[in-house]
Symmetry: C2
Subunit: 541 residues, 2 copies
């Protein structure tokens, strides 16, 4: 293990009249000999006095704590005894949520976990409105000098730093240490979140030709960001590839291990955008598209993020027409999340309540008695619009709130699933492969953890492949952030991933538009692509 | 010229949909190609936004301003047009005085000069009392943590930073720029002053075995020291060799050029201590001793530093017994400085008013009439002590203040000159050379600028050599500080000097003590060492 903060045992000669080397020089020279890797060893100005004192108190031998920085070693502490815990925090800095792990760099073990809402939501739910908030209050200080005040950007930075500090305090308390004992932080987020976190101007991210201020973050420490972690803690921000291809996805690729193997894999990460990467240790190609909103629960009227109260699972028995559902944390249903939506729409299709266009069928022509009864109960008008009531049907007399699916939600779902399939096919076609050539399809995030791939295949959202091809890896962005803390080679691999990746721009891609149109049916205009999905026309009437 | 802040002309490709490299990465990559020296190029976090904005405003081409740091390049500015002035300040940080030069790194020209008293004097006139002030108020914050508060040290640092800021403002104003336009600072001072300037614990400097906290300062910038110069200005602190061999002397060796030539030279720098270096490009040997006080004017009752009102020159005509003197700035005499003292004591010896031990002769036995008359006028009792009145004899009725020399002052002068000569002979003997082997004796500082080497030879303070051997170089500490700003090789040479120097400890040196005793006569117990000096016994009675 070569963690980002290393503990190095060392011993220096004791000062005498015949060896009057200065304390700091003595420490530095002994470390250069011990490390013996030709990289420079610096003792940063801010902590010279405290390190020199600790070194003296320990009688010039003990354990030096070193930040492993890109250009060399940075001595940040010294102790007489071996420190059993050197804590570091990995953070997935999402647009809506923060999720973090506290690790012990000495052992690799997890000390604590936690999550928090991204309080920037108060300044805008999505990336674009936050960039707007960050950049519209800008004031030039004294022309022609190039100094500006960015109160909006400062505000967003302060808010996110405060949230991270809260998370750091919570996790540290759970692990029985102080927040200032956190010796490193890795941050994995999309490009805009990385800019907002560092307080760096995101203005050009959303303006053609969409250029971020930075992709590779400079060396920073806790002090510079006013974090409550150790002032000299290195803050590693995952590198990004471009404005719409962020460090969170680089982190995911790292966590998936796909860049390590000669077998070709596909990684699907659904957030606000669907981000997809294809490749192996030789090459990587990636693209992103707006397939996400419906799947993340962001579009449907009753849609919600996967969280307590979200209906994450739905089934309708095609024989008995019994509807079953389960909510996250098994509390009262409050809405429906992406996986629940997929289950529901697949069930509506398989029970012939929607047609291949995703439209509610006409009740009047229904001949199946059970289905007709079920439809009469669930397919109701609300505010003069036809809705499928999943739960809490008002006229049933129950007190719980209704969770409904409207035609407009179905349409959005069809668009999302079509976009997803079009993205996947455009990408695989780009490299001349077939889906069957894939070793694995890795589905990341809450989406990957909750969805039923069989139902996604039924809708024609994911390719029709054996279920064993699909693997869920949970929060890959966080897993990657953990990896870079624990392993130097993972940090180097990030660089390799960034430099080997090709980005396929879909906004200007004609093929994508054609494939998108073809995918706007369940499962597809070309049903031979989905041999395992029953055809509507052949289903029992 | 390879100054510490370089201006590099460069041009990057303009961003497009087909080249969406981030602004900072674009700048970095273009610079790496332009510089082509395999050293890393970093754009520090603090100024990423302002540099990126300037880069955009300049349409991605123009002039990058780069700090040339030990481990690589640091981009600190960008401008569309060539900056005609890139200002940097060189500072001699003396225990009693600060002297500074403002240079244009683009041309090497001097923009302004200035000096100021070291306001730390209010906290102690000498190094030891300042270390005492810095370290006695220390409070441990929360045992067993290794955190301390050093209010005394903080105070001394703030005072010196304020003085440097005042000097920076003054020099910048004289040059017609702002203090924040000063893009670099080099500081040359003794080891304790370097510690106090950086706020680093000087406690062990004056305690056996006399270990400084640091000899090589880390990379620091203006912001970290709360200086008014540019926040990203590199602050280069001259490296030192040990507690009593500071960066000021390394700077002097650099300025003298002695480490560049195969001819052997000697450098004498008289401050509070006399510091002497001997050597050439192959080897350097140095020592220091307490020869200074009398010579700097610090011991004699009427002694003063070379400054306005100090008698810097005295002569007594051996035929007419006419006393002449000159004060610095030609104002009313207020005291006598080192060069004046040397002139005066040499004149008193050559006119037989003091004997070879430096004792006032007995007026009663005087046979020369003119001399007797002169002695009766000038050799008077004050507070029951015999004094030689240089000027302003009270009974002459003039209003000016008396400047007098007492026997006690003469004794101190003899000790100082004996120490100086003993230092020089011990040092040259150490390497098996003779004074006649020396190409040059370089005398630095105010002392070197004002003294008459002939009179110093008469006293037996400096070796009896042709006057052409002696060269004054003024404030060598400041000259060296200027060099490191203008020339990268000078910075590397400092390292070479530090590593090639041998320090001869005189406090425990038996030979030095013997030579010191032998030198306590004018010119010496062995007059054959000073063939050009008239022997007292043979002088006209």
């Amino acid at each position: 293990m070569k963690p980002i903060v290393r503990t190095i045992q060392m011993k220096a000669a004791v000062p005498s009249l015949h060896d009057n080397t200065a304390d700091i020089d003595r420490l530095q020279q002994a470390l250069l000999q011990t490390l013996d890797d030709r990289r420079p060893v610096v003792i940063p100005y801010q902590i010279m006095t405290s390190v020199a004192r600790a070194f003296r108190l320990a009688d010039f031998k003990g354990y030096a704590l070193l930040n492993n920085r890109e250009h060399g070693w940075e001595v940040v502490g010294f102790s007489k005894v071996y420190p059993p815990v050197v804590a570091a925090m990995a953070l997935d800095l999402g647009t809506t949520h923060l999720e973090a792990t506290l690790l012990n760099l000495q052992t690799g073990e997890t000390l604590a976990e936690g999550n928090l809402e991204n309080t920037q939501i108060g300044y805008g739910a999505d990336i674009l409105s936050r960039i707007h908030h960050a950049t519209t209050k800008r004031r030039q200080l004294k022309p022609p000098a190039n100094d500006y005040q960015d109160p909006g950007l400062d505000e967003l930075q302060q808010v996110i730093v405060a949230a991270i500090n809260e998370l750091a305090e919570t996790l540290a308390a759970r692990a029985g240490i102080g927040a200032a004992d956190i010796r490193a932080l890795s941050v994995s987020g999309n490009t805009t979140m990385a800019h907002l976190f560092l307080g760096l101007d995101p203005y050009f991210i959303c303006r053609e030709p969409y250029i971020p201020l930075f992709n590779r973050a400079p060396a920073i420490n806790g002090e510079q960001l006013q974090l409550v972690i150790h002032p000299m803690a290195p803050v590693w921000v995952m590198p990004s590839v471009g404005s719409y291809f962020g460090g969170d996805l680089i982190s995911g690729i790292l966590a998936s291990g796909m860049a390590h193997s000669d077998k070709t894999r596909m990684l699907i990460d659904v957030g606000t955008n669907a981000e997809v990467v294809l490749g192996n240790s030789e090459w990587l190609i990636a693209c992103a598209g707006a397939a996400g909103p419906a799947l993340e629960g962001g579009v449907a009227r009753m849609g919600m993020r996967a969280g307590p109260g979200a209906i994450e699972y739905v089934s309708i028995d095609p024989k008995t027409y019994t509807l079953q559902y389960r909510t996250i944390a098994e509390v009262e249903p409050m809405g429906i999340c992406g996986s629940g939506l997929i289950d529901l729409v697949a069930a509506l299709y398989l029970t012939r309540m929607i047609d291949i266009r995703g439209k509610f069928r006409d009740l009047a022509t229904e001949q199946n008695q059970k289905r007709a009864a079920f439809m009469r109960e669930h397919l109701v008008k609300r505010d003069d619009r036809l809705c499928f009531v999943v739960t809490g049907i008002k006229n049933s007399g129950k007190s719980e709130a209704e969770v409904v699916l409207e035609q407009i939600d179905l349409d959005a779902m069809i668009r999302s699933k079509a976009a997803m399939y079009a993205i996947l096919t455009t990408l695989i076609n780009q490299v001349g492969l077939e889906f069957t050539d894939l070793e694995e399809i890795i589905v990341a995030g809450a989406f990957g953890r909750h969805i039923n791939p069989q139902n996604a295949m039924t809708l024609g959202m994911l390719p029709d492949l054996p279920l064993s091809v699909y693997r869920a890896i949970g929060n890959s962005s966080l897993r990657g952030a953990e990896k870079v803390l624990l392993d130097e080679t993972a940090r180097l691999e990030c660089e390799k991933i960034v430099s080997s990746i090709t980005y396929l721009e879909l906004n200007v891609n004609q093929e994508f538009m054609i494939r998108f149109s073809g995918a706007r049916f369940i499962p597809h205009t070309d049903p031979s692509l989905f041999p395992s999905v029953p055809l509507f026309s052949r289903m029992e009437k």
